[in-house]
Amino acid sequence: MAKPKIKSEPKASTQVSAAPHWNVVVLNDPINYQGYVVVAFMNVLRIGAPEAKRLMRLIHAEGRATVWTGSRERAEMLVLELQQWHLDARLEADA
């Protein structure tokens, strides 16, 4: 009796790749006062004054800083909200 031919199960070769992260980047600008930038960060990023000040100082010193990293949808919303505060914010894919 012939042995039933058992189809071998296809080997799973699923590659799990992490969803790309997106950065919310804010550039330094000479128009908005530091206190105003801190207020914008507190309201948009929902962070306290000390963290908002740390980010603001980083931008002032470096010319730019990533203020948030995560999903594309959320990053897009945050960039739009920061632009509504007239900050020079942009969306960048994580390298």
């Binding site: 600008d29 000479p30 128009i31 908005n32 006062y33 530091q34 206190g35 105003y36 801190v38 207020v39 507190m42 309201n43 004054a49 908002a52 000040k53 897009e76 960039v79 739009l80 632009q83 509504q84 505060w85 007239h86 020079d88 914010a89 942009r90 969306l91």
Partner: protein, 154 residues
Amino acid sequence: MPELRLTMTKEARNVLSDLLRLIAPAAARVSVNRADVPAADEDIAGFWVETLTAQASEEARLLAVAFAGAKGDPAVIVLANEAQGQAFLRALSAVRLALRDLVFADITDAQLEHAEDLDDESLPTEKRHALACYACFGLLQQSLIAQLYPEALD
């Protein structure tokens, strides 16, 4: 929360109102032009521009109404709540951005950051005038932040 008050002399109010009449209509366009809008998705880009334009137009209207309603000497602008205060802060930022792009286009960022050093006889009268208004709008913004979010100031 108590109402927010911005006080200025009657003369300052008149000068700032006159400048606002000129610059506010352009402020919305300037803020949209400056924004880095993701262009990959046409629908998203359209929504993005629409959102920024609508908000900037509303802010320009808010400023015009506030300054027109500030009577007396000293003139006082009264804002009822935090939401109005935030909108006013953003509106003042939009006007300063518009002045930067439309009036001070030939002044470098570094010079503008130390604008107090610029206010001398070498500048044309209308530019010195606009520079004084630019500084005044900044002072109003600082005063509002001190009332709303004192923890944001050093």
